[in-house]
């Protein structure tokens, strides 16, 4: 199959799901339309990073299919499929909302579409627009339940992220200005032309442009201290949406930061940008650790865990080198596999106990032995314990930072990861083992297959990736690291 056909199917599938879903307006059919679209998307996206002949530009230079973008698209596709399966079970629970289901699935597919396109956009200005579009679509998903809390979360989300990301637009404009010293007044600002022009740009514009872009896209990634929208949006959206936000959306914005970073590296001005990324990474880990220790709400716990893992990603790319980049990419897919599992478990528990508070969720073992066991495995995996994939990737990132320049950051990362491990699992200990003070109120079929299968599915690759780092992936990571100009 040619690459163009593959990409066409990849983008048409969710688009069709949106259009047909809105046209038919039947709850059941829109569920299955969206599910079918997500299956097609995954089938198309899985081999994408491993195809020969990358990087390649398509559509008159507007699309850039490079291994890095394809890798992120693959992560998005994985999360989209898992969320689509889970959404069927989760959204049916609330019978009052059946009439709104077609709208929900249309928004979900549209959200997936924007996230599938954003990492592949070649022009930096259009990338900014694509990221802005992901915000606009997902705002309505965050506020979908239309109660006071979710409206508050949606409002904070759109205001904080739009104002933050306008800084990235300023950064892009400054970089374009820098490029005019090389190319003359009018040219196309693409990732490739930026990296080529960077060595000849005035350093002041390059550094300032990068820092503004880092703050702007960092807001979208959820790096502390710009993370304030993240816990609200992740905790108040429906659980499948939380999984999409955390496992997929954050990565698509991270791509931009990584590509700007590569441009500064190409210019030999990478020291300050790398240090800035490392500092934001450590800050995110710190904020994640502090709020995980004293967290009272189950989904906010997961949200702060996302802040933590975005911090780990930032550290991986910030430490740089082949090992750092490889570790970060490996971490990206591991996080995209593990985080949906945790949000789904949290969604099940919330609907079963009719509460968001961790204190109300007690006796999980008795209430759901099977999916409870899977959820616990997910919790062990997300905290970076062996034998799961996140252990390997966090270990690789730690090794990348174990040098004279960033030893302090690596040590801080190690310490904070241990704190998070203890605190996170302590919450789970309480939920599983502590005596329940009140009887569970739920009596529904919480354990339907739609809800357990998407939790069990990612556990298998997580385990496999924890004991076996595929050699074809190592080659791929090397290719990406070289393309980003990382020195070994």
């Amino acid at each position: 199959m040619s690459l163009t056909a593959r990409l066409l199917i990849l983008s048409l599938a969710p688009l069709l799901a949106v259009l047909l879903g809105l046209l038919v307006r039947r709850a059941r059919s829109s569920e299955y339309l969206n599910l079918a679209a997500s299956v097609v998307v995954l089938l198309m996206a899985l081999p994408l990073p491993f195809l020969g002949g990358l990087p390649i530009t398509l559509l008159g230079g507007y699309l850039l299919v490079d291994p890095l973008g394809a890798w992120v698209v693959m992560c998005v596709a994985v999360v989209y499929l898992l969320s689509s399966i889970y959404a069927i079970g989760y959204m049916r629970h609330d019978v009052h909302r059946v009439s709104q289901l077609p709208l929900f699935y249309a928004l979900l597919a549209a959200f997936a579409l924007t996230m599938l396109i954003a990492p592949l956009v070649n022009s930096i200005g259009v990338y900014w627009i694509a990221i802005e579009l992901t915000t606009l679509v997902s705002t309505f998903l965050v506020g979908f339940e239309r109660n006071a809390e979710s409206m508050e979360a949606a409002w904070k989300y759109i205001i904080v992220v739009s104002s933050g990301i306008s800084l990235a637009l300023l950064g892009t404009a400054l970089l374009y200005w820098g490029g005019t010293f090389v190319y003359g007044q009018t040219y196309q600002l693409t990732w490739a032309s930026l990296a080529q022009a960077a060595p000849h740009m005035p350093p002041v514009l390059l550094k300032m442009g990068f820092l503004l872009a880092l703050i702007g896209y960092g807001t979208k990634v959820g790096l502390a201290p710009m993370h304030t929208w993240l816990p609200d949006a992740h905790s108040e959206g429906p659980a499948p949406v939380s999984a999409m936000l955390s496992g997929a959306l954050l990565n698509t914005a991270m791509v931009g930061i990584v590509r700007f970073l590569a441009a500064t590296d190409a210019a030999g001005q990478g020291a300050l940008p790398h240090a800035a990324l490392v500092i934001l990474g450590v800050l995110s880990l710190l904020v994640g650790a502090l709020f995980i220790v004293r967290q009272r709400q189950i989904k906010r716990l997961m949200a702060y865990s996302s802040v933590e893992h975005m911090g780990v990603l930032a550290l991986g790319f910030g430490f740089g080198g082949t090992l750092g980049v490889a570790g970060a990419l490996y971490h990206m897919i591991n996080h995209s596999l593990a985080k949906p599992l945790l949000f789904f478990g949290a969604g099940n528990a919330m609907q079963h106990y009719r509460s968001k508070r961790i204190a109300d969720i007690r006796g999980v073992w008795q209430a759901f032995p099977v999916s409870g066991a899977i959820w616990l495995c997910g919790a062990v995996a997300i905290t970076g314990a062996p034998p799961f994939g996140l252990f390997l990737s966090e270990f690789a990132i730690l090794r990348a930072g174990w040098n004279a320049r960033y030893l302090w950051a690596a040590l801080a990362m190690l310490l904070l990861l241990i704190v998070i491990f203890v605190a996170f699992l302590n919450h789970f200990r309480a939920m599983y083992l502590a005596e329940s003070t009140t009887a569970p109120v739920g009596h529904d079929h919480w354990c339907g297959g739609w809800r357990v299968v998407p939790m069990a599915l990612p556990l298998v690759p997580l385990l496999v990736l924890g004991v076996w780092w595929p050699s074809s992936w190592t080659t791929l990571f090397h290719t990406i690291a070289n393309a980003l100009g990382a020195t070994p």
Partner: protein, 226 residues
């Protein structure tokens, strides 16, 4: 670049428009009535539209006429009209709770402009640019950014926050047209359109806020913490 060899007439016209835009940003910062605020924004968008047309004329960038037309149409007419419609539906005509008094916020705004000027002078010194128009454009771009963030933090009404974000972007529009008038047309047009979509989304959200929380002030958004 264009700003390096401007004839004096063009240079003074550009400076005049840029400074007038900055003044309008201060009008917004000093106004408590949402309608005045909105009108100042509309006027600012008109000025930026005129600026685009002038740059297109003096620099020979034909496509900037399109940008000028769309800026005036979208940001000068459609957006203010949309916001006016939202305003009519709401019962709030003004900011009720002031975090800082008007005079204090104006003084902070002035400090922001001085800071922006210092940054702009440093950058132009590094680049070896002597043109006053460039320094002015950079200063106004950064200071409108800072003033926009100032308005976002000091104002609580939903409409004020939308306008705050629009001011952030007005600053970038103004700056980029002087500094990089060649920035591809496509992007600028899509950006304008994107803004329209954004404000439509904001409008829907404001209505939801009103029905589900009973208020459009972010002071009342305090359930989610920790």
């Amino acid at each position: 670049m264009l700003a390096d060899h401007l004839d004096p007439m063009a240079a003074s016209l550009f400076s005049l428009l840029v400074i007038a835009s900055l003044l309008l940003a201060f009008v917004m910062l000093g106004s408590r009535w949402l309608k005045d605020y909105m009108l100042a924004f509309a006027a600012q968008s008109w000025l930026i539209g005129i600026l685009s047309a002038l740059i297109g004329y003096y620099g020979g960038y034909r496509e900037l006429y399109w940008v000028a037309g769309f800026t005036v149409l979208f940001r000068g007419i459609v957006l203010p009209w949309l916001i006016l419609r939202i305003l009519r539906r709401l019962n709030t005509a003004r900011e009720l709770h002031e975090v800082l008094s008007t005079s204090t916020s104006l003084v902070i705004g002035a400090a922001a402009v001085i800071f922006a000027l210092v940054v702009a002078m440093r950058i132009t010194k590094d680049l070896g640019i002597t043109s006053n128009v460039v320094v002015l454009a950079l200063t106004v771009m950064f200071s409108m950014k800072l003033i926009g963030f100032l308005m976002l933090t000091l104002r609580h009404e939903a409409i004020s926050q939308i306008l705050g974000i629009l001011v952030l972007e007005n600053g970038i529009f103004l700056g980029t047209q002087i500094l990089v008038p060649g920035m591809p047309l496509m992007i600028e047009l899509v950006l304008l359109f994107d803004l329209l979509v954004a404000v439509a989304c904001f409008g829907v959200l404001v209505r939801y806020l009103l029905t589900h929380i009973g208020s459009t002030s972010s002071r009342d958004l305090r359930r989610l913490t920790g």
